[in-house]
Amino acid sequence: MARPPLLIPRPEGLYCPAGDFFIDPTRPVPRALVTHGHSDHARAGHGAVLATAETLDIMAIRYGDDFTQSRQVAGDPIRIGEVTVSFHPAGHVLGSAQIAVEGQGQRIVVSGDYARVPTPTCAPFQPVPCDIFVTEATFALPVFRHPPPEAEIARLLSSVQANPDRAHLIGAYALGKAQRVIAAIRQAGWDAPIYIHGALQRLCDYHMARGIDLGDLRPATAGRKADFAGAIVIAPPSAFAATWAQRFPDPVIAFASGWMQVRARARQRGVELPLVISDHVDWPNLTATIDELNPAEVWITHGREDALMRWCDLTQRTAKPLHLVGYEDEAE
């Protein structure tokens, strides 16, 4: 009798029958392995969670200390049922990991979301040889070739210089993107205070506590309108719809996202300064990663599966879409 596959897609997420656990389940399950702290991958209410120390901390910050009944920090490879699992950096956000599942003479790597552009805010992606590579496909179209982040930050800083009377409001997701942007601004030599929305405070504090220097961060709540002239302010994009944005002088609305490469996307959002800064792999990095790992099979979790399927087809690779539901495009 044939053994069941090592991992199978279920409505809750990817399931491992031999170890009786789910990876990044989108609903509460008895045992979850979590790749990273973004809310569509890390949800509250599981019986047990195995994740990196940073991901567990981030989940506690976001959901409260009782986000799960029991937790375990991923360190050395762990035996679960009939399989061995290990965690490897994914380069996406602080604490993000790929999860390798090994058993029945086969190794599957579930990448979660990943990026290959280096950032001081998290450990770089580590290529792990495998038989099956489970990849995201958020930016899996050949039009997505993200420029180097330094070039985007240079555009931001020249806009700040050209508009000394205006505040620059940068929309960036609270976990990962915000810190990636702040760190890149610091690397460019900007050492003035950066103002942050309240929703970013605890996550930025946590990064600092983990030794990631984000420089002088101040709450964007205090101060008069004129005080923010020439300032850089970072906030979750949802804040731009709120009365919160009214406190800044004639703000330049910027948005840091891989989607900003498409003009229509930027215009729809009313963005004046689109910054193409992403924490996902773009097309060249995605296809190069598959080439580098050269797995026997590619499984695709979410995004533009059809285009990546086509590329695999053209390069004679075996691939299949998993049609997992519940994961979002690069979050806002």
Binding site: V143, A242, T243, W244, Q246, D250, V262, A266, W311
Partner: protein, 528 residues
């Protein structure tokens, strides 16, 4: 100007929402770039670069030779703009940064058969932003939110020269406009050497009964203000041209009018769709605007003609210094010999301002949008001079409508819901009839913003649907039939006149009220 600098400018123009911001960007480019680069940039924005038109199918073919057609199609589907898709998807090669002039020159001189190879070679040696600018240039449609007029007005502002004079000579000049930039730098004004050039038109300023009461009615002639397109019809040495009041040559869209222009001179009038004695509402004239060519069917169904206000030059004689009454006498004689589809705008008889107020209150046709007053002794002056000519527009139409949707604004209005869609009753259902984003005071904007936030019932992207409880008084200048809008009507210049918290939504106006305001137009208008 390097192609990179041009690409950066296009990008910033496209994402800068305010007009003032765009003008600033353009001024910086005029100041910072040398000839002939800045002139070519200006020509690219005004649509005056006559390059070989590169077709979308040529570009598609080039791309499919380099990129898998399925992936290309999927990408185009996602991006939605052909030039942008190709700019992003084209394989990276070496990077060069040619001057704009070099690129323009080769695009305008390369024979058609060698164009594909030329374009491919260029795309191979440019970065993505430059590829985008290059393709927009090659296809002839920049779409960066800058009209030809805005570009000229930015030039005038930067050069410190009157826009009217620039518009007068514009059509006599050609890219790269070196004489124009020399004029800006202090040289003498370039001569309008073109045949049948445009002359700056005389414009009026608004007035009302209060201001008029200080003036003597006997000093003024009055006529209706016709709601068409103000034009200048020029015939000189056999060359016939029809210009808009900003100096755009719109003759190609109106061959029927050009055919009627059997005279020698420069006439000022209103372009209107005319059927027999009737004059169609503005909406019908709109069908014929912005078209490069006009179909025979359109010429038959929407015949155009002129109604004349004034004469600038007649049979070689410049009359602009002569008083209005004298010009008007020449005009009356001139019209007598022309086809009846060119006629004289009749003068109104009145002896007091109250007489005129009564005429204005009850115009015989809905296509009349008020009265014009012209000082009998005034010469024909360029531009909007206060005093000799007044427009006394009819009062705006007012309706009470219910707020339905709101969208966030830009720039100084960031964070405020400032674009409002409103509707009126049709039976027991509300139908949207228009969108307004001005008319209110800053205080009223805050009040509306608060209302939207506290009464949101649904969200679609940046749009919020609100509870249908708030009535606003909407003012607008006219109403067109529309097949594009569910309500069947389209407002002109709608704005929010005031908020009516005192009025329950059930007492807002009904669609029937709007329909009654429509002209009895001969047949439905197809907006294509």
């Amino acid at each position: 100007m390097s192609l990179t600098a041009f690409a950066t400018l296009l990008e910033r123009l496209a994402f800068t929402p305010q007009r003032l911001g765009k003008e600033r960007l353009l001024a910086a480019a005029f100041a910072g770039q040398p000839d002939p680069e800045r002139g070519l940039m200006l020509a690219a924005l005004t649509g005056d670069l006559k390059l070989r038109q590169v077709t979308p199918s040529l570009l598609r073919g080039l791309t499919e030779a380099r990129v898998d057609p399925v992936l290309f199609a999927a990408s185009y589907d996602f991006v939605g703009d052909l030039a942008e898709t190709i700019a992003l998807i084209w394989p990276e090669g070496t990077r060069s940064d040619p001057p704009l002039s070099e690129v323009v020159h080769e695009l305008s001189t390369t024979p058609k058969a060698r164009l594909p190879a030329l374009i491919a070679a260029r795309l191979d040696s440019l970065g993505p932003s430059e590829r985008y600018a290059y393709l927009k240039l090659a296809t002839g449609a920049l779409r960066v939110g800058v009209s030809a007029r805005l570009a000229r007005s930015a030039f005038a502002g930067w050069a410190g020269l009157p826009l009217t004079e620039i518009e007068e000579i514009w059509h006599a000049l050609s890219p790269p406009y070196t004489e124009l930039f020399a004029w800006a730098a202090g040289a003498s004004r370039p001569e309008a050497a073109a045949r049948a050039p445009f002359r700056p038109v005389m414009l009026s300023t608004p007035t009302d009964l209060d201001q008029l009461s200080a003036l003597d009615p006997a000093d003024f002639a009055a006529e209706w203000k016709w709601d068409g397109i103000r034009v200048q019809a020029v015939v000189e040495a056999g060359t016939r041209r029809l210009y808009s009041r900003t100096g755009e040559d719109i003759g190609a869209a109106f061959p029927d009018v050009l055919a009627l222009m059997d005279f020698e001179g420069v006439l000022d009038g209103e372009l209107l769709v005319r059927r027999g004695d009737g004059i169609a509402p503005f909406g019908e004239l709109q069908q014929r605007l912005n078209r490069k060519t006009v179909t025979p069917a359109m010429l038959r169904s929407h015949p155009a003609g002129l109604r004349l206000y004034d004469v600038l030059i007649w049979q070689g004689q410049d009359l602009r210094d002569r008083p209005y009454d004298a010009r008007r006498a020449v005009l009356a004689g001139a019209v007598a010999g022309l086809d009846p589809r060119i006629d004289l705008s009749p003068q109104l008889e009145f002896s007091s301002w109250d007489d005129l107020a009564a005429l204005r209150a009850a115009p015989p046709l809905a296509v009349i949008e008020g009265v014009m007053l012209k000082r009998r002794d005034s010469p024909y002056l360029a531009g909007r001079v206060r005093g000799p000519w007044f427009k006394w527009k009819r009062d705006p139409f007012l309706i009470d409508a219910v707020l339905m949707y709101a969208q966030r604004g830009h720039g100084k209005r960031s964070g405020y819901y400032s674009d409002f869609t409103f509707g009126v009753w049709n039976g027991d259902e509300l139908v949207p009839v228009g969108k307004a984003y001005f008319g209110f005071t800053d205080e009223e904007l805050k009040e509306l913003d608060r209302f939207v936030r506290n009464n949101t019932v649904d969200r679609f992207g940046s749009v919020r649907a609100v509870a249908r409880t708030r009535v606003v008084e909407v003012a607008f200048e006219g109403l067109n039939r529309s097949t594009r809008h569910k309500s069947g009507v389209a407002m002109r210049f709608p704005r929010i006149n005031r908020i009516r918290p005192d009025k329950p939504a059930s007492e807002a106006d009904h669609l029937a009220t709007l329909q009654a305001m429509l002209d009895r137009a001969p047949g439905e208008v197809d907006e294509g």
